[in-house]
């Protein structure tokens, strides 16, 4: 099993001149520790306009800082919105290549298309088009990386023959992923040979079906890049403490705050009748339509919270489902103290991680790259 940290960089009000700096500093301290402890990945979201929920609109810059302050952990976009109103695929390819170079070949490129109304409407993007634009982005980006000169006459964008520079350090190119929240996106991932970056915790049975379907389909995929990234990661909340009650209590604080803040954002699906977004996107499992208005966010089965044994049991269950790894949301809105977060990570690395680690993440890395 592989383990990663998932960074939203949420900033609670009241905002002071120092609030955002403090959140970023805390996050970087966590990443440095994760690197020492043997975590495999740090992922950074890209969100815009999502007040408090995420102030991570320049993830490549944040990840560059992560890379500069670490030596081993892989740095991942989790994920880049492949929506032309947000950014050109040329800029994605260029900036990702820079990050790959300065990280020494440690980049993972997650792709997606945004699911919230404030973001899509803020950029004037058409929600009906985002699946199509995502598809074109993921097909052209690896070509931009691998071909010395590149031209394209596509549906969503075109460009004359140009050298897109620099080229990434990893050869043939960095691993590519897609965020999976909507039903069926695991099929899109498999068909294109992309890794599956689960962003929405679900039940065991549903997850198992998705993973099996992905594994089956990817056997016959037509990869968009030069290789198949046959990996499925899920997401969970991490809170590990010798005092199991404290671990669960703090973990639920993070999970509840995450679901409350996610729920407050209007999803594209909620306000726009479109088949382009078959699910709500953000934590649909925690947002049932009917039921008591007073129900707070409930923990789902398999939460990685509690004592090291509790956490290990939960991870074992997800491993049995077929996942290759878990990315952890370990802090949100600074609802638990930074020292608690660091201690939780240390305990996890000492007591839990060794039970699941059989080796370091193997990657299709180029000759000459350590």
């Amino acid at each position: 099993m592989e383990f990663g940290l998932f960074m939203e960089l949420s900033v609670p009000r009241p905002w002071t001149a120092d609030s955002e700096r403090q959140v970023y500093e805390n996050a970087l301290e966590q990443v440095r520790l994760a690197d020492e402890l043997g975590f495999d990945y740090v992922w950074a979201v890209e969100h815009h306009f999502l007040e408090e929920y995420s102030h991570c609109s320049g993830p490549d810059i944040f990840l560059s800082a992560c890379a500069a302050q670490t030596s081993r952990i892989r740095v991942g976009h989790g994920v880049i919105p492949c929506v032309p109103q947000y950014q050109s695929p040329i800029r994605v390819a260029e900036r990702a290549a820079v990050l790959d170079i300065i990280s020494g070949g440690r980049l993972e490129l997650g792709t997606g298309r945004s699911a919230t109304w404030p973001e899509l409407s803020g950029f004037g993007a058409d929600p009906d088009e985002t699946k199509k634009t995502w598809d074109e982005f993921v097909r052209v980006i690896p070509k931009m990386w691998m071909q010395e000169r590149f031209s394209w006459d596509g549906r969503m964008f075109s460009m004359p023959d140009r050298a897109i520079l620099p080229k990434p350090l990893q050869k043939p190119h960095p691993p590519m992923w897609v965020a999976v929240t909507s039903p069926g996106t695991e099929v899109d991932a498999a068909d294109r040979g992309l890794g599956c970056l689960g962003l929405s915790p679900g039940g065991f049975a549903d997850s198992e079906k998705k993973v099996q379907n992905y594994r089956k389909r990817i056997q016959v995929c037509d990869p968009v890049g030069a290789f198949v990234n046959d990996k499925v990661l899920t997401v969970n909340f991490l809170s590990c403490n010798e005092d199991g009650d404290l671990g669960r209590r703090n973990g639920l604080k993070v999970a509840s705050m995450f679901s409350y803040m996610a729920a407050q954002l209007l999803s594209a699906k909620e306000v726009l009748p479109t088949h382009s977004y078959p699910s709500e996107g953000l934590l649909p499992a925690l947002r049932r339509e009917s039921g008591s208005p007073g129900d707070a966010a409930k923990s789902f089965k398999g939460v990685t919270m509690g004592t090291p044994d509790d956490v290990a049991d939960a991870i074992a269950a997800w491993e049995n489902v077929g996942f290759d790894g878990i990315n952890f949301i370990h802090q949100f809105m600074e609802v638990v103290p930074q020292q608690y977060v660091l201690d939780s990570m240390r305990l996890f690395a000492e007591e839990v991680m060794p039970r699941f680690k059989t080796g370091t993440a193997a990657r299709p890395v180029a000759a000459g790259v350590a």
């Binding site: 609670p12 009000r13 999502l50 007040e51 408090e52 109304w117 404030p118 409407s121 705050m257 679901s259 409350y260 803040m261 996610a262 729920a263 407050q264 954002l265 209007l266 699906k269 909620e270 306000v271 726009l272 009748p273 479109t274 088949h275 078959p278 934590l283 925690l286 947002r287 049932r288 339509e289 009917s290 039921g291 008591s292 208005p293 007073g294 129900d295 707070a296 966010a297 809105m333």
Partner: protein, 252 residues
């Protein structure tokens, strides 16, 4: 931290309908439903909804118009002005006010589900390339003109009508108290279209909240559904967060 409502409900309580909690449900077949959504630009989002609820980011108003050719109370049209909200993590729509052209039905909607409702003349007309809705006061004054333009078919799964949250007065422990009544409706879709929203006229004062100035058009849909308004299952104290102030009043 999550945005929490701060609307002072005291000026609204006297005009809130008195609801008798019972097992009544209302089923109406083949209802034409127009829903038009606009973002509103308002400085103080929290002040739009009571403390029981949470505003959304961004706040969006919806004009939700029903027209039924027949029902237990005869033909009717009902126009609601609602505001997107959350109750805990759940999507909800806070009812600002409603108009109805059927007095007998209006009385039932107010008395069983807490619709803040007034008389109105409502026209909902479907053309090949648009759906037009107009609402007039009983004195003939226009208070709403809203349309869906260039309809294209979608599936019923694509259209969402969140449960309503209606400020009402409910007897608890022998005393009439302000409560938010959760109105759950079931929709069985026969067909659905979506199109561009077009708002030509909107009399904010007449609908009860002059702060809800429409800003950015979001979407419009027109559907035909069998609608069942279920009996009330949950009510909540408007003055405290729904997570603390919700009461289950029916298992049905």
């Amino acid at each position: 931290m999550p945005l929490a409502g701060s609307l002072d409900i005291r000026p609204l309580v006297d005009g809130a309908p008195e609801v008798v909690l019972d097992e009544r449900e209302l089923k109406v077949d083949d209802v034409d439903i127009l829903q038009v959504l606009y973002e509103v630009r308002v400085a103080d989002r929290e002040a739009l909804v009571p403390p029981a609820l949470n505003p959304t980011i961004p706040p969006v108003i919806s004009f939700l118009v029903y027209r039924a050719k027949e029902s237990a109370f005869g033909p009717f049209a009902l126009a609601q002005l609602r505001l997107t909200a959350r109750s805990g993590v759940r999507p909800r729509a806070y009812l600002i006010s409603a108009r109805c052209d059927n007095p007998a039905l209006a009385e039932v909607l107010a008395g069983s589900w807490g619709f803040r409702i007034a008389p109105g003349e409502i026209s909902l007309r479907r053309f090949h390339d648009r759906v037009d809705c107009t609402v007039h006061d009983p004195d003939g004054r226009s208070i709403l003109q809203v349309s869906l333009v260039d309809p294209v078919p979608v599936t019923g799964h694509d259209v969402q009508y969140p449960p309503g949250m209606h400020l009402a007065r409910v007897t608890r422990d022998g005393v009439l108290k302000p409560r938010i009544v959760q109105v759950d409706s079931e929709y069985v879709f026969r067909r659905a279209d979506r199109g561009r929203p077009e708002l030509t006229h909107f009399d904010l004062e007449a609908w009860g909240d002059a702060r809800l100035v429409p800003d950015i058009p979001v979407s419009a849909s027109f559907a035909a559904c069998d609608v069942t308004i279920a009996n009330v299952r949950y009510i909540c104290n408007p003055d405290i967060p729904a997570s603390e102030g919700t009461e289950k009043v029916s298992d049905a």
